[in-house]
């Protein structure tokens, strides 16, 4: 058995090396106002694994929608042809790294959008900085993109762990749930979320009674759920930082142990509407979480969501809308600059204030390239409140753009 295992490990390792094939560099810019006579928008994301539903190929479609809308609104645009290219990074930083190089160099991408998974996002941001090309990140959660690892060519668009923690942690605490029990998956994202939440809860006057790391992945959360009501003081709410399949496991078991009836509510750190869709609204009803955007928030969003549904057959997540918005803002900045030269576009983006279908009261901070906009505290509807498919969220309150994200004074970012 041991022998078998060791040899298999060698085989697996070889396979992994083969899979992570590299792209090669090459010349790209030929000067001029619009390089190569066209603007190329690139997306790198997960098209086959855990994040494929919440972003994936439908984000590529959302970016195509942005291109069409831009061309319709700017018939006399100086930008000629606009091309959309994409790549699958399988959530692996090394693959993301080589795909980014390939997109920038060989496929002449002027900007790379999306990039879920924080480690992969940081890899792409690094490539962007080296090649002096723009990266507008939409789906990764880490605050590092606009903190320690910030750079001149990278922007963070939709959300980050600070937004999630301060939205949910602060609001739920201020509403009277002062005692928290936090369970988080024991890896970088979970640890980051745990510390962001603890800070937010304590600043709002609450306390974290206990916080437990859980194995990742994990299918049995009963230990933590059974222990919760017996903690001293008894927690008002369990804050879970689990995501994907683990979140589903935890919520199923939370419901089985009837913790809601024992006075222990559930708050979820990061949740996408696709999570609610996959498990059904019953399982999550009453759960509070922070959303960066919701398709049925108002008429504007709904109109866009209708168009999106016509093209993809499904309702958009905030990641889809975020990619649309980032693509649109990038194109408009190119239009204003009159060139796709990265430095000129960055200058146009910095400090720019705007409103679009995704970002309300949007502003691109020059200091750290954090894109701030309104965020929303959402509650999952009860089954009898649902009037149509994907009608899952009630927006409880809007968190104003200047409160939703970390104050600019606190940033650790030093633009080189």
């Amino acid at each position: 058995m041991r022998e078998v295992t060791r040899r298999s490990a060698a085989v697996l390792a070889t396979g992994t090396l083969l899979l992570s094939a590299c792209g090669q560099g090459g010349p790209s810019d030929d000067g001029g106002e619009i390089s190569n006579g066209k603007v190329v928008l690139g997306l790198i994301n997960d098209q086959s694994d855990v994040y494929a539903e919440l972003s994936g190929e439908n984000s590529v479609e959302a970016v195509r929608m942005a291109v069409e809308d831009f061309q319709e609104d700017n018939p006399d645009s100086a930008i000629g042809e606009i091309e959309v290219v994409d790549a699958d990074h399988q959530n692996k930083p090394d693959v993301a790294n080589s795909k980014a190089a390939e997109l920038y160099d060989q496929r002449q991408a002027d900007v790379i959008l999306d990039v879920p998974t924080s480690s992969a996002a940081l890899a792409v941001a690094n490539v962007a900085n080296q090649k002096q090309k723009i990266h507008m990140n939409v789906t990764a959660a880490t605050t590092e993109l606009t903190g320690e690892s910030c750079n001149k060519y990278t922007f963070d668009y939709a959300y980050d762990t600070y937004m999630l923690a301060h939205g949910t942690g602060t609001t739920v605490t201020e509403k009277g749930a002062e005692n928290w029990y936090i369970v988080y998956p024991d890896y970088a994202f979970g640890q980051d979320m745990e510390s962001s939440f603890s800070t937010a809860i304590e600043e709002a006057g609450g306390q974290v009674v206990e916080s437990d790391p859980t194995p990742f992945p994990n299918d049995n959360f009963s230990t933590f759920l059974v222990k919760a009501p017996d903690l001293d003081p008894a927690p008002d709410v369990i804050g879970t930082m689990q995501a994907g399949g683990d979140l589903v496991n935890l919520v199923k078991q939370y419901n089985e142990f009837n913790l809601a009836d024992k006075g222990v509510d559930l708050a979820v750190g990061l949740m996408f509407i696709t999570d609610i869709h996959s498990l059904g609204v019953e399982a999550f009803s009453g759960v509070t979480f922070t959303d960066a955007w919701y398709w049925d928030y108002d008429e504007t969003n709904r109109r866009w969501a209708d168009e999106f549904q016509e093209r993809t057959g499904t309702r958009p997540s905030f990641a889809h809308a975020g990619n649309y918005s980032a693509a649109l803002q990038y194109l408009e900045a190119v239009e204003r600059a009159g060139t796709d030269d990265s430095d000129a576009v960055v200058a146009e983006l910095e400090g720019y204030e705007f409103d679009d279908v995704f970002a309300r009261n949007g502003k691109i901070r020059a200091e750290d390239h954090r894109v701030v906009h309104d965020a929303y505290l959402a509650r999952v509807k009860e089954p009898d409140e649902v009037s149509e498919e994907w009608d899952y969220e009630e927006i409880v309150s809007t968190i104003p753009a200047d409160e939703a994200f970390a104050p600019v004074e606190d940033t650790e970012c030093e633009m080189g």
Partner: protein
């Protein structure tokens, strides 16, 4: 104290899944000397089978509990005839790679059809709510799962010790050559035993559907722990796999309670300790692999 007892109970429920999976793995290994890496995939298919029957044909949980394992056992037998059995004479690594490849194919097929998401599956109405176990309230469904797993393990035990078929399987497991020379056609039992092991995995999958995420990766997340359980119990030891399954379940629950950060590695630490102390596992024999 009540808390600890309740945690041990949680562990028994989780251990029930481990025991059922480890049991199937042990039976297959005993008879075929094949480490079936696809075991987790069949656990996943069991859960998806129940989901598919419910959504496509309105078949309820109870019927699925019978139909899905039986159907997947047949699939398992076909797989054994078509592929596994051609490689059993070669180095065990070949079947390890074969079943690993089958796992990847099955997972991706499910992903193509359902995406990389969890599918909803509710508890049977009969087992909604909770029961009073004296010291504490406990979800009825989980009590059912535990009872079912224990009864099933006992049944398999009786099957192996009290019936002629069981005797042949045990004899073939312990001394295949000798059994053959006594005129027993060992070969004809190989395929059914493989199917039986797969059926057990599928059954565990159906049981998991109402309380765990019905997700394409649910099996691959669990199978590593199950391998550790089988190694701790002793490769090829049927009794050992069941005892280790429940034991590891409880150890994990208690580990979660006192040292949550360690609970993921706990099972492997236990495995290392057991192997140092008894290189053949708790109930294993020398020379199983030779």
């Amino acid at each position: 104290m009540v808390n600890v007892i309740q945690q041990l109970f949680n562990g028994l429920v989780g251990g029930g899944f481990l025991a059922l999976l480890a049991l199937g793995l042990a039976v297959i290994f005993g008879m075929l000397r094949v480490v079936n890496f696809a075991h987790g995939a069949f656990y996943m298919l069991g859960a998806f089978g129940a989901y598919l029957l419910l959504t496509e044909a309105g078949v309820n949980f109870w019927l699925a509990l019978l139909v899905v394992p039986a159907a997947l056992a047949v699939v398992g037998m076909a797989l054994e005839r078509a592929f596994v059995h051609r490689l059993t004479q070669l180095d065990p690594l070949y079947n390890f790679l074969l079943t690993f490849g089958i796992t990847l194919i099955l997972q991706d097929l499910i992903k193509v059809r359902y995406g990389n998401q969890s599918q909803p599956y509710s508890r049977p109405a009969l087992l909604d709510g909770s029961v009073n176990l004296g010291l504490f309230q406990y979800p009825s469904y989980q009590v059912f799962v535990l009872g079912f797993a224990i009864v099933l393990c006992l049944l398999v035990w009786l099957l192996l010790t009290r019936t002629r078929v069981g005797m042949i399987v045990r004899a073939a497991t312990e001394r295949p050559e000798l059994t053959r020379s006594l005129g027993v056609d060992v070969g004809r039992w190989v395929t059914p035993v493989f199917g039986f092991g797969i059926g057990l995995a599928a059954l565990a999958g159906v049981l998991a559907a109402p309380m765990r995420a019905v997700h394409p990766m649910m099996g691959s997340d669990l199978i590593i722990t199950v391998f550790a359980v089988v190694v701790i119990g002793g490769l090829g030891s049927i009794f050992g796999s069941v005892v280790a399954g429940f034991g590891i379940g409880m150890a994990q629950a208690v580990g979660n309670l006192y040292v949550p950060a360690l609970s993921q590695t706990l099972v492997f630490i236990l495995m290392a300790v057991v192997l140092l102390w008894r290189p053949t596992g708790l109930f294993g024999r020398e020379g199983v692999l030779t």
